[in-house]
């Protein structure tokens, strides 16, 4: 190592300094430092972002989703020749099954509404789902009590996100700044 430093034309003082470094330890430390940096970024930045992006409203359960089988082996209905015909659904049923259509139907913005995305931890998808629950204003979130927080967390599958991002405090300060 020293020979290569001398060959590189470095001054004796610099060679002395470089020779004092335990290169293996230095490189290992550098590697693990960046590994730690990456792990932190993953844990605190990327994963919550990913979790928020992956939040999808769960499909609405249909009351009569299962087509009744031929009861008692009775005679087949007229036109039922055994070929599997595509099930014809009414528009209302289709709307209930389609989460997007449901979201559009339910999230009709009232006259007075706030931009809930100003609250840290709420994105576009979550805002729609909050609107589906009838939450449009900062004042509504600001008035949530622990029971209501638990209720919303369960309904929207948020885990501890409301407490972690202090939605209520954020909503209060946003409400006051309006």
């Amino acid at each position: 190592m020293i020979q290569s430093f001398v060959a590189a034309g470095l001054s004796p003082e610099v060679i002395f300094l470089l020779d004092g470094i335990d290169w293996l330890k230095y490189l290992v430390a550098l590697f693990f430092f960046f590994l730690g940096l990456f792990a932190g970024w993953w844990q605190w930045h990327y994963q919550p972002l990913l979790a928020q992006l992956q939040e999808v409203p769960e499909p609405v359960a249909r009351g009569h989703s299962e087509k009744p089988d031929s009861e008692g082996g009775g005679p087949p209905a007229v036109g039922d020749s055994g070929a599997s015909l595509p099930a014809v659904r009414s528009d209302a049923e289709a709307a209930v099954e389609d989460p997007l259509a449901e979201a559009l139907a339910d999230s009709s913005t009232p006259e007075e509404s706030d931009d809930l995305r100003l609250i840290r931890g709420i994105g576009a998808a979550l805002e729609v789902r909050l609107n589906q629950q009838g939450v449009y204003r900062f004042s509504q979130i600001a008035n949530w009590d622990p029971a209501e927080i638990a209720n919303m967390s369960e309904k929207l599958h948020l885990g501890q996100q409301i407490e972690r991002f202090s939605w209520v405090e954020q909503a209060k300060s946003l409400q006051n700044s309006d």
Partner: protein
């Protein structure tokens, strides 16, 4: 056989010397990541 055992021993010695360094550096990186994240959070980032 004996030489092989000795090489494992030296590997263990090297690992034992590097483990605290690796752990310390990893924790330092983790703390720095947290500091950056919390500062960004304080500035209103999501």
């Amino acid at each position: 056989m004996i030489g092989e055992a000795a090489s494992y021993y030296y590997l263990w010695v090297a690992l034992r010397a590097l483990l605290p360094v690796a752990l310390g550096a990893f924790l330092a990186g983790l703390v720095l990541a947290w500091v950056i994240w919390s500062l960004g959070r304080g500035r209103g980032g999501k």
